[in-house]
Amino acid sequence: MSDLHVEGLVKRYGSHTALHGVDLEVGEGELVGLLGPNGAGKSTLTKIACGLVRATEGTVTVAGHPAGSRAARAAQGYLAELFRFPGWATADEVLVLHQQLTGSEKGAGERADLLGLVGLSDARERKVEEMSKGMQQRLGIAQALVGEPRLLLLDEPTSALDPAGRRTVRDLLVEVQGRGVAVMLNTHLLSEVELVCDRVVIIDHGAVVTSGRTAELVRPRGVEVETAAGRRVIEGAGRAEAPRIVAELVAAGEQVFGVQVLSSTLEDVYLDAVGERESTRSSG
């Protein structure tokens, strides 16, 4: 049973259709990156999964329970794109509240563990209104982990974090995945996804345009050779073909100055998928 199952999901806001029949799966303990341009529908999809927004059509289940049901809400942890905690509360009090709301009985030990995980151990008694935005975001991630959720839904959890903070979150994601938690990570930071996600789903204009295992999406794009005639790319060729290509060129009497295997980065895959490669190239 998958931890998040989305089938034929349609969402209309009035006459505007934000999602046109999205299918998506997050397997048990899987870490899936959800990518897409601004307005693609990532947050809408995440909010439907956690029961904040109602689907117009389609089915969404969390750990086998209909999204938004009590059982589904008990199985999930969520961090919204735009969220705030009460300014008067301390980090510890925010976590206490969420322990009460989830019925977690793990007490101070769980809170200290979570604050440690996000690098906020020193800010336990600090009030939210006295925290920087990045500290609040870290607290938000800790809050989402209260009560040991099976599925973590994170909507741009690192948008306010400094590079060290992002690394902390990446390590944390790997760590919680090790504990068997499935994660859907919604972000614009492709490098982050490339580093930690098992699978990537790219949506655009409310529909899935590409999805697959990260390692398979990021694949060889060709071999570039530099000869007296200049550089050229042998499209579709991979590392294995490089010696043969060089041998053939030498046999044909050409001088080879350099050879390089090109692999497409996730950025290439992304820009191809959302059809912005050409416009980016021509404008840049």
Partner: protein
């Protein structure tokens, strides 16, 4: 059921803690003490003037003065209680959702019904306790500084508490569809309009205008906090009214919305009204995308 109550209790405790930390109660206490001081002074002055006034036997000046000033105090109490109730609930749903405060709480297992119940219970408990305490304070000061005791105190206190509990429910319902400012304005205007209609009704009673009285009576059912307030005014002076005469007629005219007794089933109606407002709020909240 127990899950609903547990969730509501957590939400209510959180709302109360917020009011404590934000020093809401501190401010309210300070202003209320100032209000009490001014009131005591006013009562003292009023009754020392009355000692020199002889009602020619027609008028029981002490009853008239006591009922009028205590009625005024009751209006002030209700007004402050309503402000408290409105400010504790006015941003409960849309305002908090726009600021991003609501989402982390509402995705938890407690459910939307428990959230509404908790927010309502916190606001109603605070504002109802407030009006009861302040009203008893007003009665005590009137007795100490003017020697006047109203005909009834328990029933009016309960009616004031009911009125602010109903206002809390209305403000909570409003908070689902309206943003913070719009909801605050709307609820206070509904409150003001209710009292105004009550005042028109008492003028209608005095002038024997059936239409005006009918309008006021309809308003008491549509906006039952108004009916509760008018009945509370009536309860203060029920003895004098039943004795009749000039005093009876004058005290019934009352300050700021004349007194008027309610139908015997009115309290039951008020409970039903609050339940309907709660059900409407839940239905609206369930349909709302956050």
């Amino acid at each position: 059921m127990s899950e609903l109550l547990t969730g509501a209790r957590i939400v209510a405790a959180h709302a109360l803690r917020e009011s404590l930390r934000r020093r809401v109660f501190f401010v309210v206490l300070g202003l209320t003490l100032a209000f009490g001081g001014l009131y005591a002074w006013g009562v003292h002055e009023l009754f020392s003037d009355i000692d020199e006034f002889n009602g020619n036997g027609f008028l029981d000046a002490e009853t008239l003065a006591g009922a009028t000033i205590l009625g005024l105090a009751m209006f002030g109490t209700l007004f402050l209680g309503v402000i408290l109730a409105v400010f504790l609930t006015l941003n409960a749903v849309r305002g908090d959702a726009e600021r991003g405060l609501l989402q982390p709480v509402i995705v938890r297992p407690l459910g939307r019904g428990a959230y509404l119940l908790g927010r309502w219970a916190a606001a109603a408990a605070v504002s109802a306790s407030y009006v009861v305490v302040v009203f008893f304070g007003g009665v005590l000061l009137t007795k100490l500084f003017g020697g006047y005791t109203p005909d009834s105190v328990i029933v009016p206190a309960l009616e004031l508490a009911g009125a602010v509990a109903i206002i809390s429910a209305l403000a909570l319902l409003g908070s689902i569809v309206l943003g913070t400012t719009a909801n605050g304005v709307a609820v206070l205007m509904v409150f003001g309009a209710g009292l105004l209609v009550g005042l028109l009704g008492s003028i209608g009673d005095a002038l024997d205008s059936g239409t005006l009285s009918d309008v006021a009576n309809v308003a008491s059912w549509v906006l039952p906090f108004e009916g509760l307030y008018r009945d509370a005014l009536f309860q203060l002076v029920s003895g004098a009214v039943s004795e009749g005469g000039v005093t009876g007629a004058l005290v019934q005219l009352g300050p700021l919305g004349g007194s008027h007794d309610n139908h015997a089933l009115f309290p039951l109606f008020c409970v039903g009204y609050a339940l309907v407002v709660g059900a409407l709020a839940l239905a609206a909240f369930r349909r709302r995308d956050l």
